[in-house]
């Protein structure tokens, strides 16, 4: 299982702050997970519509689309950051 967290408008569009998912295959990347999540319903499709505006962290570290996921990972999706 992996834990998926959503922040800012990704949380609003999916209607979820957190969900868990069984990893379908051992070599799944962040990009593969996004493609899978985008098919989960209209809210998820809206959240993942423009992938260029989505950033990802795996286990609290910024991650790339080709980062490989492992069971137990915490994967967070969010827009480009706007703090400071």
């Amino acid at each position: 299982m992996i834990t998926i967290l959503y922040f800012a408008w990704l949380r609003e569009r999916t209607g979820l702050s957190e969900e868990t998912l069984a990893l379908p295959d051992s070599g799944m990347t962040v990009a593969g997970l996004i493609a899978l999540l985008a098919g989960r319903g209209p809210g998820h499709a809206a959240a993942f519509q423009n992938r260029r505006t989505i950033r990802c962290a795996v286990n609290q570290e910024f991650a790339d689309p080709d980062t490989i996921l492992r069971a137990g990972d915490e994967v967070a999706f969010f827009p480009p950051v706007t703090g400071g």
Binding site: L5, F7, A8, W9, A57, Q60, E61, F62, E74, A76, F78, P79, P80, V81, T82, G83, G84
Partner: protein, 154 residues
């Protein structure tokens, strides 16, 4: 040893400087940046910001700030450093973020302060949502100028 704090509570700039310099006589200069909530907008008839809400990723935030501070300490000889970032809902005029960097000389203190706020804006997991006088609210979009500001420290 840096002081890093993420909190809903406001900060006292004078008290933070006192804490940074307590018992020290080797500090020659302290750089200070304070970010505050502003309500001004470019067009005169556009709705004005009435509140700002800062969301963050609690498990990641302090770690991400810690990494940015470590990078500043690698680049400049700092004698002390404070980063405080508020979260939650704030009104125009309120403080959002405080960066203090102390060094023996002004250039390191000033450069490290600018570096810290530039990287905080692009590499720490915070998101701003603005509320307006007309009742609307919207997530603040990341600015290319912020990316360019962070990029100049490469």
């Amino acid at each position: 040893m840096a002081r890093i704090l993420v909190s809903e509570a406001d900060f006292d700039v004078g008290a933070e400087i006192a804490l940074l310099t307590a018992g020290r006589t080797d500090i020659g200069g302290i750089g200070c940046f304070i970010g505050t909530v502003r309500d001004a907008v470019p067009q005169a008839d556009a709705p004005v910001v009435t509140a700002l809400t800062l969301e963050h990723y609690p498990a990641m935030t302090e770690r991400a700030i810690g990494r940015i501070v470590k990078e500043a300490e690698r680049r400049w000889t700092l004698l002390g450093c404070t980063v405080i970032h508020r979260v939650g809902r704030m009104a125009p005029g309120e403080n959002i973020v405080l960066v203090l960097a102390a060094s023996a000389h002004r250039q390191a203190a000033l450069d490290a302060t600018a570096f810290l706020i530039d990287w905080l804006k692009t590499k720490a997991p915070f998101w701003k949502r603005e509320e307006f006088t007309d009742g609307a609210s919207a997530w603040v979009e990341a600015k290319e100028s912020d990316d360019a500001a962070a990029e100049r420290w490469r």
